[in-house]
């Protein structure tokens, strides 16, 4: 299916989301994309967050940053457009949009750490209800630690948005009172997009339910086993 076709299709489905049960990650990417303000600069993390790009309308003028030294990153490259010198942070070949700019790694992370990116979207193992993020290390003894740019994004982007399934495959909540996985950043997440609901996180206040998908806030609270009532 073409990108345009896929987008139209997602539009159609989005209109019928409420009450239909948990979203697919592609549907969720569409929800995230709708919330990105026009003209914003941001970074999409490796994995599911990358799919947000497919749902950004060109006329919205959102400019994507890739930490390996580029603003104005376009869609994944295919065929003759593949250039080994032009990749995203996941090392996949990408394209360049008009108005792009290249820079080196020191400049790229200075931009990130300096608070110039309006948003980033990251995957997560866990997010705490205070906005702590755990997304770089399972903590398992034989896991080779690899952090990449996750910690830099967590403290650098003005709005750190997380996109994840709300439960692990075994059913454990990933929005938790306190992260058990090693942290990536402290109190840095401002919003969590999940297949069951979107949560706003504010310091000290506990998460606020912004939107649900086929589940009531009460049911959500029960499944999450939070020690307080969701608002």
């Amino acid at each position: 299916m073409s990108t345009a076709g896929r987008r139209a299709d997602a539009d159609e489905r989005y209109r019928n989301l409420t009450g239909q049960g948990p979203l697919t990650m592609d549907e969720l990417a569409r929800v995230v994309a709708r919330d990105i303000p026009r003209g914003a600069y941001g970074n999409l993390g490796i994995g599911h967050p990358t799919r947000v790009a497919e749902h950004l309308r060109p006329e919205a003028g959102v400019v994507l940053h890739t930490e390996n030294g580029m603003l104005g990153m376009g869609p994944l490259a295919v065929g003759d457009d593949v250039d080994p010198d032009l990749t995203n942070a996941g090392k996949l070949p990408v394209t360049e949009l008009p108005g792009a700019a290249y820079f080196d790694h020191a400049s790229s992370f200075a931009m990130m750490r300096g608070g110039h990116l309006d948003f980033c979207v990251l995957g997560a193992y866990q997010v705490s209800t205070d906005g702590d993020l755990a997304n770089w290390h399972t903590g398992a003894g034989d896991d080779i630690p690899a952090v990449g740019g996750a910690m830099d994004l967590a403290i650098g982007a003005r709005n750190v948005l997380v996109m994840m399934t709300l439960f692990t495959r075994s059913g454990a909540p990933k929005l938790v009172p306190r992260c058990t996985y090693p942290l990536t950043g402290v109190a840095c997440v401002s919003r969590v997009y999940t297949d069951y609901a979107v949560f706003d996180i504010s310091p000290g206040g506990g998460p606020r339910v912004r939107q649900t998908f086929g589940i009531t806030p009460a049911e959500l609270g029960q499944r999450l086993a939070l020690p307080y009532t969701l608002r």
């Binding site: 026009r38 003209g39 914003a40 600069y41 006329e59 003028g61 400019v63 940053h65 603003l71 104005g72 360049e96 008009p98 108005g99 792009a100 700019a101 290249y102 820079f103 200075a110 931009m111 990130m112 750490r113 300096g114 608070g115 110039h116 990116l117 403290i155 650098g156």
Partner: protein
């Protein structure tokens, strides 16, 4: 499209600069000095400003005119005293303006730190000199360093040679000087340029200041004020 705005006059470009603001002003001597924006700032009327710039004005134009109009409370610069800095000299000797002299590299690096999210840094410059007075020092690997803090502007006024529709900037020769680093270090960055070109017509490898750093761009006639000064 992008979040960069393109006001049609320098006066619109400097709108909203309040009394008491800290304003970074680009240029080294006359090269890279944003004359049109400074003239607009004088017309705009904000008072009690703290000006951060390499010099403290030449002749009676640009920064010197701003100082003469009594708009600056304080100047943070590396080299106020020049053959034609009589406006500043007079105000300074009359006790009408505060001066903070900063070594030129520290001026640049402290603004870079502000733009790059660095909280403070240990710098070897000025150790053992009067400019070290009151600064915290630390010996690292046998060498003494001084702790230097970021310099952040509320606004930056800079001059570039050309912008594209996304606010990407390129400069000409040594007129580049403080523009790129100031563009990273202020809440609102305002650039005057000689040309504005469509997105895609600037070489992405040669962009010096990516549009993410640039909030407002205004086109002004090329070098008009410099020619006037040169006469």
């Amino acid at each position: 499209m992008s979040r960069t705005q393109f006001p049609s006059t320098p006066l619109e470009a400097v709108a909203g600069i309040p009394d008491g603001a800290t304003v970074l002003v680009g240029g080294f001597g006359l090269a890279g000095m944003p004359f049109a924006l400074i003239d607009a700032l004088i017309e705009h009327g904000a008072r009690d400003l703290t000006i951060v710039s390499n010099n403290a004005g030449n002749g009676e134009v640009g920064l010197a005119a701003l100082l003469r109009a009594g708009r600056a409370r304080k100047v943070i610069c590396s080299f106020p005293r020049q053959s034609d800095s009589f406006v500043f000299d007079e105000l300074y000797r009359a006790g009408k303006i505060e001066l903070d002299v900063v070594p030129q590299g520290n001026l640049a690096e402290r603004m870079r730190a502000a733009g790059a999210g660095i909280g403070a840094f240990y710098c070897p410059t000025a150790v053992g000199t009067p400019l070290a007075d009151g600064k915290e020092s630390r010996v690292i690997d046998g060498r003494t360093y001084l702790l230097e803090y970021p310099i952040r502007g509320d606004f930056a006024l800079i001059a570039a040679s050309c912008a594209d529709e996304l606010g990407n900037l390129v400069y000409r020769r040594t007129a580049r000087n403080f523009g790129p680093v100031m563009a990273t270090a202020a809440g609102t960055v305002i650039a005057q340029v000689s040309d504005i070109v469509p997105a895609g017509s600037m070489d992405p490898e040669a962009v010096v200041t990516p549009g993410i750093y640039v909030d407002r761009v205004v086109r002004v006639a090329s070098h008009s004020r410099l020619d006037e000064v040169a006469r």
